[in-house]
């Protein structure tokens, strides 16, 4: 038991770091021309000069936009403790205008210790918000509106955006609107009147460079030399990490990984998978952990689905493929059954089953999303007559059948002809 505890503690520590965005993005944001610094500069100047502003943070999902924003907001709250308040909205939750106004009013009430009534109507909420904006402006307090999933707010009539940006045009209010979106053209979605009130400041979040990621890896995986760990363990752990990261095979693993994934979040998931495979007895990471993590991230779901099929279902798939090869553009269950019977007649296979068993096999295939109905319109037909199509390609079918545990050889032969 004594040995397990430091391993568990280190595991807890590293996994805790991986799930904490601020820990990860602080070193990435250390340099002076990083997005963090740019954003902080813009917002802090708006606060100190008492002017309105609006910014968009754009970048693919998982590049750390919300994390960097949280870092900036945290720093600003420390720097200007009484003159900043933050309102957070999320496009997934609050895209409906009623919802959004209610949420803004609720958060404002919480900030300023006012009583919030759930029964307040939309008009009351919007009046309240405008009044609060004016009051805060007069008191030289800046309100930062964080709009996550900004493109969801840009659907519909964009009432919320217009009211916010319009309220900011008046002299007395002091507000900064920060939108976060993974759509790089989020500002093109805005209506004309909204776009005219929007200052077209955009900060793009690009994938980090290899050096930054190497630094991040080291930052994540090195244990601190404090007294909660046995001393020899820490140095052993850190040495092992250094060994692994300088290994050529590890660099190959990373290169393969970065061929497919470019964002910070996917890198974090990869490290998470590798770290959770850590051997709890030795308490040290190894190269095998990273290899296993890489293979778990390189799943091939259609291949897995074909490997899960029973022999009858493989027959049905091969029949459908043969019909496609014969250039029959559309086929349904009855035509597949005809092909199935034809195969049985010519090759005398032992696997000839009745129609209802084959229908059940079809249903299994449809559940696994290996085949599907070709069109949704033909609802008036029974399943037997509706046209179907394969959702896997011929090469995937080939590969799946070759790696299948008990695929009969005749099927492979039939597929090739």
């Amino acid at each position: 038991m004594g040995k397990e505890i430091p391993a568990e503690k280190s595991l807890n520590l590293i996994r805790g770091r991986l799930c904490d965005p601020s820990f990860i993005f602080r070193p990435l944001s250390a340099s002076s021309d990083s997005n963090y610094s740019k954003l902080k500069f813009i917002v802090s100047t708006s606060i100190t000069e008492g002017c309105n502003n609006s910014i968009l943070l754009l970048g693919p999902r998982g590049s750390g936009k919300a994390a960097v924003l949280d870092l900036v907001v945290g720093d600003l709250l420390e720097q200007f403790p009484d003159s900043v308040s933050v309102i957070r909205l999320n496009g997934l939750l609050h895209s409906d205008d009623n919802c959004a106004f209610k949420e803004i009013a609720r958060q404002l009430c919480m900030e300023h210790h006012l009583l919030f009534s759930k029964m307040a109507s939309f008009d009351e909420n919007s009046h309240f918000i405008i009044a609060m904006l004016r009051e805060c402006g007069l008191a030289h307090k800046t309100i930062i509106f964080v709009l996550d999933e900004f493109d969801m707010f840009a659907q519909g009539k964009q009432r919320l955006l217009y009211s916010l940006l319009d309220a900011m045009q008046s002299v007395t209010s002091q507000a900064v609107v920060i939108g976060i979106s993974s759509r790089l053209d989020a500002d093109q979605l805005l209506e004309k009147r909204v776009r005219s009130r929007f200052s077209h400041r955009k900060i793009l979040f690009l994938p980090p460079s290899r050096d930054e990621l190497d630094g991040l890896l080291e930052h994540l995986l090195s244990l601190p030399a404090d007294s909660s760990f046995p001393s020899g363990y820490v140095s052993r752990f850190n040495d092992k990490i250094k060994n692994i990261t300088s290994d050529r095979r590890f660099k190959d693993i990373l290169k393969t990984f970065f061929n497919a994934h470019s964002t910070v979040n996917s890198f974090l998931k990869f490290i998470f998978c590798a770290v959770s495979l850590m051997n709890l007895e030795s308490g040290l990471l190894s190269l095998e952990n990273f290899k296993a993590a890489l293979s778990s991230m390189q799943r091939q779901p259609k291949l897995e689905a074909v490997r899960d099929c029973s022999v009858l279902e493989l027959y049905l798939l091969v029949c459908m493929r043969r019909l496609e090869v014969k250039e029959q553009s559309s086929y349904n269950f009855i035509s597949v059954m005809k092909e199935y019977k034809a195969i049985h007649d010519s090759f005398q296979t032992s696997d000839y089953y009745a129609q209802n068993v084959c229908i059940r096999g079809f249903e299994h295939l449809r559940e696994r999303q290996v085949i599907c109905y070709a069109e949704n319109r033909g609802q008036s037909q029974t399943g037997e007559y509706r046209p179907m199509k394969l959702l896997i390609s011929a090469s995937e079918l080939h590969q799946g059948m070759r790696s299948h545990a008990c695929c009969p050889a005749i099927l492979l032969k039939l597929l090739d002809h």
Binding site: E8, L11, N12, R15, G16, L18, C19, D20, P60, R61, G62, A66, N90, L92, L93, H94, C99, E103, D148, S182, N265, S266, K269, F272, C273, S276, L277, L280, S296, P301, E304, A305, R307, D308, S310, V311, L312, Q328, S330, N332, S335, K338, D351, Y353, A354, Q355, N356, V357, R360, G361, H364, E367, R368, Q369, S380, T382, Y385, P387, A405, C406
Partner: protein
């Protein structure tokens, strides 16, 4: 159907209410108020070996899952567990959480069939609120929008975590051997793939996948269980996908171990499995489908044995195999049914020895196994004929001589006409059964009903029957329309699109040829004479 596993094979998951109710069921008012302990599995904890032995074939998945969960109080990214039906996903997750003794909240999207019920069920469990007669079976909080859910969830989680932190500080004197509960709460959502069919399902799915980032509470671990692989959830909005964990279908060896569990006589059963497992695995490898067939077959397998406790030697095995073999070939073509009359065991044995098994089975297959009135049967047949025959041939088919003249003049078919025939056949197969208006259906019905009527009289069945039918014939019209609507309800007929010019409704017959043949045989109606064959 939710994956059902026989209680003989794996320990049945107990619901939280049945686990924590300690009072007798006769008391109408429960005196038990839920505490933080109820968030754990509730029954006594089991060792990892017990978990592994309960789930043969799932060893690597169990270890992977435990590793992903991590040691106590370890924060975790969202996990998605996916695999086919009855592969053991839900049971493994719940049993592992029972082993780890950590508090969790379980909600299935099959029983909580819309967002409001789902959100309220999760909140009720977190707020330790139980619906009873005292509060009128209402939930603790009303919540049907994701925005409200996030706020309420945050409050509920903070209170639960505070309670957990305070209890973890004090040592638990009543259960000293139990593992500590830790400070994390896990949220398990089952059958997540069903959300796709909900109203606004994509938004809800998007919300669930980003719940972890929205909440920003590291003390919550989210586990999603899905029957479909994660690629079906890809939408054009994108999301950070959870860590996947795959449960493949069982291999044959695993199935053998699963079926051998909890069998009273393992040697006998394994001899049985030697015969049946391989052929049935070629058709399907799903546990729920195999288990129903195997339980019935095993009963037949043990029929010649007097003592079910013996372990068979080679000779006996050969005897039992030969007894069972004919039944296997037949069962492979059935779903969920071993067709045998359980009461006539001896007579069946005699009949089987006569080696007329296959023909007798055919007879059995042609018996209709549900009851329909005679007029409904005739309507069914007329609908079938109307769908299959082209309308232009009606006059010649249904003339007074009864039956079509099937003697076609033999002509050497040229290649072009053969090709045309093939293409026409393909098109016919693709289009499916044709549609017909109501008038044609009634016309055909009247023709064949009169034919059937006369054949009834010829066969000299019970006299009351024929006379009764005669009388009914006059008042048949209203009954017929009723029968048509009940056939529509039973999905033997469906309404297809109506012709825009005429405006009358057209029907389509959905009956397969097998069923039509069975119905015709029960009426002694010569169906093949009327069926148009190209």
């Amino acid at each position: 159907m939710p994956p059902k596993e026989e209680s003989s094979k794996v320990t049945r998951r107990s619901t939280r209410s049945s686990a924590s109710v300690t009072v007798e069921n006769s008391e109408p008012i429960e005196s038990h108020t839920p505490t933080i302990d109820d968030l754990t599995f509730g029954e006594e904890s089991i060792t990892i070996d017990a978990v592994l032995s309960n789930f043969p074939g799932r060893r690597s998945q169990i270890f992977d899952f435990i590793r992903l969960m991590g040691p106590l109080d370890c924060p975790t990214l969202p996990i998605m567990i996916y695999g086919g039906a009855s592969t053991g996903k839900t049971s493994v997750v719940l049993q592992v959480l029972r082993h780890l003794n950590r508090p969790f909240v379980y909600s299935s999207c099959r029983t909580c069939y819309n967002p409001r019920i789902l959100f309220e069920s999760i909140l009720n469990q977190l707020l330790l609120h139980r619906k009873c007669s005292l509060n009128g079976y209402s939930s603790a909080k009303r919540c049907d929008k994701p925005s409200d859910f996030v706020n309420l969830l945050r409050e509920a989680l903070s209170s639960v975590i505070k309670t957990l932190e305070s209890t973890s500080g004090t040592s638990r004197s009543d259960k000293p051997d139990e593992k500590p509960m830790g400070k994390m709460v896990y949220l398990i959502l089952d059958n997540v793939d069903l959300i796709r069919d909900w109203d606004k399902g994509t938004i809800i799915l998007q919300f669930l996948f980003s719940l972890y980032t929205v909440l920003k509470m590291p003390q919550l671990g989210i586990i999603l269980i899905s029957g479909l692989p994660p690629d079906v959830y890809y939408s054009n909005m994108g999301y950070t996908d959870p860590i996947p964990l795959y449960f493949p279908e069982y291999s044959e060896e695993d199935l053998r171990q699963i079926f051998l569990r909890n069998q009273p006589n393992r040697k006998l059963y394994s001899a049985f499995l030697d015969v049946v497992l391989k052929p049935f695995c070629r058709v399907t490898r799903r546990v729920e489908e195999l288990s129903t067939t195997f339980s019935l077959l095993f009963r037949k397998f043990c029929e010649p044995l007097d003592d079910l406790g013996i372990s068979p030697n080679e000779d006996m095995k050969r005897r039992l195999y030969s007894h069972l073999k004919p039944l296997i070939a037949h069962c492979l073509n059935e779903i969920f049914r071993v067709s045998s009359h359980p009461h006539d065991g001896e007579t069946r044995g005699e009949r089987r020895q006569k080696a007329s098994y296959s023909s007798e089975n055919r007879e059995e297959l042609e018996i209709l196994d549900f009851h329909m009135s005679t007029s409904a049967k005739f309507l069914l047949l007329s609908a079938f004929l109307a769908s299959r025959n082209p309308a232009t041939l009606d006059a010649s088919t249904f003339d007074s001589t009864g039956g079509m003249d099937n003697r076609k003049r033999k002509r050497k078919a040229s290649e072009k006409s053969m090709e045309k025939k093939e293409i026409a056949e393909q098109e016919a197969v693709m289009k499916g059964p044709g549609s017909f208006p109501l008038e044609r259906l009634l016309a055909i019905f009247q023709c064949i009903a009169s034919v059937g009527d006369s054949s009834f009289g010829e066969e000299d069945e019970e006299e009351e029957n024929t006379t009764g039918y005669d009388k009914e014939n006059n008042n048949l019209m209203s009954d017929i329309l009723l029968q048509v609507s009940s056939l529509c309800d039973a999905n033997f007929l469906i309404k297809s699109g109506s012709c825009p010019l005429e405006g009358s409704i057209r029907y389509r017959s959905m009956v397969s040829e097998d069923l039509a043949q069975k119905v015709a045989k029960s009426l002694s109606f010569p169906l093949s004479k009327y069926l148009y064959r190209r």
